[in-house]
């Protein structure tokens, strides 16, 4: 009995509650699969559902191929060779993280549309002529593939680069000593040992790609995510939305397991004590030009192109500067970011500390389950939230006199923070955990033996040690929230705009030029945050 009480203590119930909060949207989606299907879903099943799946898979496969080429090639050039600006490219390529797919989509549309930027450039350079028929139209599926690929390739780049970077020169030297050529060393030693990291990067790309809502929506491509959104917003059919979510979740969970497995494998390839950094080879002539041109092109297309396009539009259409209440949006963003970071960091610290001192296996399983939230696409999460809290409100309404409780969770800051919590808890929890695990248990025990209580050990030893990490986690959460679109779009209070929602709302009203200013602000904020955390992002071993 005493053991039972000590096992199911305060920490257990806290972790259980958090795991339950994260699990509820998943459970809602899974339960909806078994509920009655509406006419709309039957029609959908017989008509467009296959298209949704086909488009999603076509985009997914193409994006995986392009991100693999972009990410692995740039990581290879930067890790093993010295060429002009190679050090600059090593961090500049991650700036593409600041450009969400939907902003890249605005830029593509703006550049290639009739009488768009490409047309203006050609007119200015070569004079008046009807260039429109000669300018390629990158829209629909092709546009989505390009936009998503250039916004997601940094995942593959960062993980592959660090895997290359942390390969000990000893292996390369041993390979050469055994008679392998440079090419054979790369193909037989370097690439196989980077494989888990590359797969982990591609799995992340795949999950983000399947979750993408903004880009495909801007290009009017019907995929599973837009299907979910349309079922809810156009046909007011939450059940159908959840049933499509179920199909999407199956894909995502499969990818999640691939990603987790690959990360575990990647750990075996991390350097030990005898680690010797790689000696970079200095490139000359054509080879140097090739590496430089490749990295420069990737940098220009992924970052400079969308940024210039947004700056160009903002200058070209100055009237929107007055129309948009940019101060209000800045304050809204700051408000959301501060509140969400505070809640996430506080609870992550709390649960990490609880797991640490209680050393319960059940607690570990629960927290591991809680971090699965990051795999749930924002749009599924938002629709599942609405389903859950609508049902809950109806249930309360039927049985009590309290009235509707929907407003507490849907269209409120509280609901929004709750959804962000589910989505980003893993980022925050794992970020703190990875740093916490570096504090050996005997350090806590030493503190106790020196007369320090658990609370004093936490405040005097843990917090000072975790301080930098906490700041970094806040930066990363902020970056994610600033870019986040579907959750904010669906669950925000009426008239509450962030840069992402403001840009999307204008774009969906065919006022893409008006989306430039909020997009530019979003990119600026994100760039600052990325530069602040670039050292950490690039030093990630796994």
């Amino acid at each position: 009995m005493k053991n039972l009480i000590s096992k199911y203590n305060f920490w257990f119930f806290s972790s259980f509650t958090i795991a339950l909060i994260v699990a509820l949207p998943i459970i809602t989606v899974f339960l909806s699969f078994f509920s009655e299907t509406s006419n709309y879903f039957t029609i959908l099943k017989n008509t467009f559902l296959l298209d949704y799946i086909n488009n999603s898979l076509l985009i997914l496969i193409s994006v995986l191929f392009i991100t693999f080429i972009l990410g692995v090639s740039s990581a290879y050039f930067i890790s093993f060779y010295e060429f002009p600006l190679s050090n600059f490219f090593s961090w500049a390529l991650i700036l593409a993280f600041a450009i969400p797919g939907y902003i890249f989509a605005f830029s593509i549309i703006a550049f290639f549309e009739n009488y768009g930027t490409a047309y203006s450039i050609l007119t200015n350079v070569f004079g008046e002529y009807n260039y429109n028929p000669h300018i390629p139209k990158l829209d629909g599926v092709l546009g989505s593939i390009i936009a998503i690929s250039f916004s997601l390739f940094p995942y593959v780049y960062v993980l592959t680069r660090s895997s290359f970077f942390f390969q000990s020169n000893n292996y390369i030297e041993v390979g050469q000593n055994l008679g392998l050529s440079e090419k054979e060393t790369f193909l037989k030693i370097i690439l196989p040992s980077a494989r888990p990291a590359i797969i982990a990067g591609l799995a992340l790309v795949a999950m983000e790609c399947l979750s993408d809502f903004g880009t495909v929506s801007i290009f009017s491509v019907s995929t599973l995510t837009t299907g979910i959104y349309n079922s809810w917003i156009s046909f007011d059919d939450l059940n159908s939305a959840n049933q499509i979510s179920f199909i999407l979740l199956l894909f995502i969970l499969l990818l999640l397991s691939v990603e987790i497995y690959s990360r575990k494998e990647a750990k075996y390839h991390q350097p030990g004590r005898g680690f010797k950094p790689i000696n970079k080879i200095k490139l000359n002539g054509k080879k140097s030009l090739l590496a430089f041109s490749f990295c420069l092109s990737v940098f220009l297309i992924s970052f400079v192109f969308p940024v210039s396009q947004m700056i160009y539009w903002t200058i070209k259409f100055p009237k929107y500067i007055q129309d948009i209440n940019i101060l209000r949006i800045n304050l809204n963003t700051l408000y959301l970011v501060s509140l969400a970071s505070l809640v996430l960091v506080f609870i992550s610290l709390f649960i990490n500390y609880g797991s640490r001192i209680s050393k319960s296996k059940i607690l570990n399983y629960l927290t591991n389950f809680s971090i699965s939230g990051y795999a749930i696409p924002g749009v599924i999460l938002a629709v599942a939230f609405i389903t859950l809290f609508s049902n809950l409100s109806d249930l309360i309404n039927e049985n009590t006199n309290i009235g509707s409780t929907k407003k507490i969770f849907i269209g409120s800051i509280f609901g929004l923070i709750l959804a962000y919590f589910v989505r980003f808890f893993s980022l925050s929890f794992n970020g703190i955990k990875s740093s916490y695990e570096k504090i050996n248990n005997s350090i806590d025990e030493s503190a106790y033996l020196l007369g320090y209580s658990k609370i004093r050990t936490f405040s005097k030893i843990h917090i000072p040690y975790l301080k930098n990490n906490i700041i970094l986690i806040i930066v990363l959460i902020s970056l994610e929230i600033i870019k986040e679109l579907p959750i904010t779009m669906i669950l925000r209070p009426f008239n509450f705009e962030t840069f992402a929602t403001q840009a999307y709302v204008y774009a969906s009203q065919d006022l893409i030029e008006a989306a430039a200013l909020p997009s530019l602000f979003l990119i600026s904020w994100a760039t600052i945050l990325i530069l602040f955390s670039s050292k950490y992002i690039l030093s990630q071993k796994n």
């Binding site: 050996n440 005997s442 025990e445 030493s446 033996l449 020196l450 007369g451």
Partner: protein, 356 residues
């Protein structure tokens, strides 16, 4: 109520199913005594220390410190309230504080009631001066161990627990530090329990030594007796100081007891255990028991020779196939090669006749 400074009564210590030590009874009568617990790795020595420190609960039994019950299956005083310091084997320094700050953490203990020690003296004694401004990740494992020891000493504990305290320290510095630490502990009268798997360390540091084997405390005695009069074959085997040979007790009644070996002949000395005359027993023969004598008629064949710095260890073979170790000072006038005959002083006299 116990009247010892420290006492474990019927203590059962459990860390896991495999890692447990049963029915330990151990007393430290006077403050300032140093006790070592010796045993192979993984036998549960650290579990005992962690339980005494309060980091693990005592499965059953009782632990008293200064006549106060600190652990039993009903009582568990939290580690921060015990005033017991434990210096861990691995690096347990606070990673975000410099070495000097880590040491000063010890000083901040609120309820320390042990002897006051000068921080500068400890720093000097443990050779920590050059690394005071470094962070733990910038120092070696041996240095970290010394800092950890300094921090524990500074906390003015009633009882100091040291878990393999010198295992990472360079051999050249180890002997000097062992001597200095022992002197200091004696001077400040700090009761200490040292856990180690190194018998030289256990014997040289401690007033009393406990041997833990097969989940039990097998012997608890002064180091001299543990070495010369191990109370079981398994302890003798663990200390690995000799071999067992078959002998017959000729006379166990006189002041000098007599045994007989088929080839070595008569062996004289004092039996540590009582056996009736005529018994066939196994005698522990340690390398220092046989004395080399070129003039002796008792000769055995050399089958191996190892150079150990101060000594050579010769392995001699009897006709029966027994292999006997013998120390010979390395400055001895000549050396014997393999297959040569090697003379042994006869009759053989051994102070402690350890038989089973």
């Amino acid at each position: 109520m116990s009247k010892q400074f420290f006492e474990i009564k019927n203590g059962n210590f459990v860390a896991s199913e495999k890692n447990k030590v049963n029915n330990i009874n151990l007393k430290i009568e006077n403050q300032g005594e140093i006790v070592s617990l010796l045993g192979p790795s993984g036998v549960g020595k650290t579990t005992i220390l962690r339980t005494i420190a309060g980091l693990q609960k005592l499965s059953s039994g009782e632990i008293f410190l200064k006549n106060k019950l600190i652990s039993s299956n009903m009582t568990h005083i939290e580690p921060e309230k015990r005033n017991i310091a434990l210096s861990f084997q691995d690096n347990s320094l606070f990673p975000n504080y410099k070495v000097i700050d880590n040491i000063n953490f010890g000083k901040k203990r609120a309820n320390g009631s042990g002897s006051i020690i000068d921080v500068n003296e400890i720093i000097k004694l443990l050779h920590i001066e050059p690394i005071l401004d470094k962070f733990p990740h910038q120092i070696s494992a041996g240095e970290a161990q010394r800092v950890s020891l300094a921090r524990s000493l500074m906390s003015k504990p009633d009882l100091l627990l040291l878990d393999e305290p010198f295992s990472n320290i360079d051999q050249s510095l180890k002997d000097e530090i062992q001597v200095s630490v022992k002197k200091l502990l004696k001077r400040i009268n700090l009761t200490t329990i040292i856990v180690t798997h190194d018998s030289y360390e256990a014997f040289s540091m401690a007033d009393k030594c406990g041997i833990i084997l097969n989940q039990e405390l097998k012997q608890y005695d002064v180091p001299y007796n543990v070495h010369h009069e191990p109370n079981s074959i398994e302890i003798a085997n663990f200390l690995n100081k000799g071999v067992f040979i078959d002998v017959k007790i000729i006379d166990s009644e006189c002041a000098v007891h007599k045994l007989k070996h088929k080839e070595l002949g008569e062996i004289r000395g004092k039996l540590s255990n009582k056996f009736p005359s005529g018994s066939n027993v196994k005698l522990l023969l340690q390398p220092e028991d046989l004395i080399h004598d070129d003039q002796s008629k008792l000769k055995l064949e050399v089958v191996d020779r190892k150079f150990r710095g101060t000594n050579f260890i010769y392995t001699l073979k009897t006709k029966n196939g027994e292999h006997l170790p013998v120390f010979v000072h390395s400055h001895h006038i000549h050396q014997h090669e393999k297959s040569e005959n090697f003379g042994i002083k006869s009759p053989i006299y051994i102070d402690h006749l350890v038989c089973f």
